[in-house]
Symmetry: C2
Subunit: 252 residues, 2 copies
């Protein structure tokens, strides 16, 4: 296997609350940043409703063409939490009560009113799955085949990611550096394109903003190769300065 | 056409900056909330890279099965802005310079250094497209067939939505009300499911949270029918109170 192989992941954000606009998603960005550190690229994201057919279709399409598939949302105890059933259906597996998850939940709820039928729903997993620890609320995440099933509440999803850190095979982490200018990106568009074209293995993204009534842009240079990255950053900074622009080394 | 017809939209968020985690998306929530007001349901969202094949595939799949398809991102003047070309390719149309967009940009840049070749890129549209006004930066949004192409910068996208308000055919707006309890959702899971089952045309979502070390949940009741909505809310509040819970009428 080449060390230059690119490892990819997809993410499915499951939940009517995102599609209704009630809840601002925070999991896409945190999963993306965590994946970068693991040397895995987030290739695509879908947000789907609490609807079995929609989840099954997305799961089967995305797990087949990515090294990993992450999901967030829909693993709680209530009637709208259908993620485990939908993923089991996508995999053609039964749903079972995981004995260790049951034990963890029994311990967690021992002083919180006991393990009711509804709470026991959170011990349900597709047959053959492993658990992902969740120190916060007892209810575990789930890993089955190349699918990683996480909570929708962002700080619980963060704990599950922490528990998975260093556990997944990946490639070289994507590195990035940012240069900022108080410039309209349209004034340096050709310069950006020419610089990117001159540096194999590097991408330059241009992100304009308006702040305090002034127009600026940050230019994000990305590469998995630190030498190439620095070469591209230095070249871009030199070209911007040659065009009479002040360059801010860590962005604006 | 039945007045109960459900109008749907999909959204494609285009941009490496979202998939890298550099930028926290804010367009999903604002498009979702705006669509609710227009009587259109956001049915699905995809986040795709700055990659022509990925954009074309997503555009053709989603425009076919929704009344509307919105996109955000990738319509600026730089080399990584490929949305217009990708959508034209998906539609099998040429890309042309829209005369009115050119005139708008000429006016906008008259006092800002003139309309360069790079800036003129922002006047490019799929053949047959109409423009969507953008008072902020001159560069317009684009409407072609059932596709609405918007900027990625959230407050510019917001201006484009404002310009479109009331312009799209839609159905009844989705209404929602929220009840809050300081309760673990697992303690009332059956109650929630039973209440939803008793009220046709209403959905109940359960959204747990942790605040100041205490566990709570908000229950969001949604319906397009105000009478059914109120009936479901009143019934849920009564059942929660009968179970000994204090109910907060606008959520927590």
């Amino acid at each position: 296997m080449s060390e230059d192989r690119i490892w990819t992941a997809a993410l499915i954000v499951i939940g009517d609350e995102i599609l209704s606009g009630r809840t601002q998603d925070k999991n896409i960005a945190q999963v993306a940043l965590w994946l970068n550190e693991q040397g895995i690229r987030l290739a695509e994201v879908r947000v789907v409703a609490d609807d079995t057919a929609a989840i099954v279709a997305a799961v089967n399409e995305l797990r087949a063409r990515n090294d990993y598939l992450f999901t967030t949302g829909g693993i709680g105890p209530t009637h709208d939490d259908i993620t485990v059933d939908a993923i089991a259906a996508a995999l053609g597996r039964d749903v079972i009560i995981h004995p260790k998850a049951r034990a963890v939940l029994e311990g967690y709820y021992a002083t919180r009113g006991g393990l009711t039928e509804a709470r026991l729903r959170m011990a349900r997993v597709p047959d053959g799955a492993e658990l992902i620890e969740n120190r916060m609320s007892g209810a575990p995440g789930i890993r089955v085949d190349n699918i990683i099933i996480m909570a929708g509440v962002p700080h619980i999803a963060a704990l599950m990611l922490e528990a998975l850190s260093g556990q997944l095979d990946g490639g070289k982490p994507m590195l990035s550096r940012t240069l900022g200018c108080w410039v309209q990106e349209s004034e340096v568009a050709d310069l950006l394109g020419d610089t990117e074209a001159a540096h194999d293995g590097c991408q330059i993204g241009s992100y304009p903003f308006f702040r305090d009534g002034t127009v600026g842009a940050n230019f994000v240079i990305r590469s998995t190769d630190p030498v190439r990255l620095d070469g591209c950053v230095d070249d871009l900074a030199a070209r911007l300065r040659a065009a009479g622009r002040e360059v801010f080394a860590d962005g604006i």
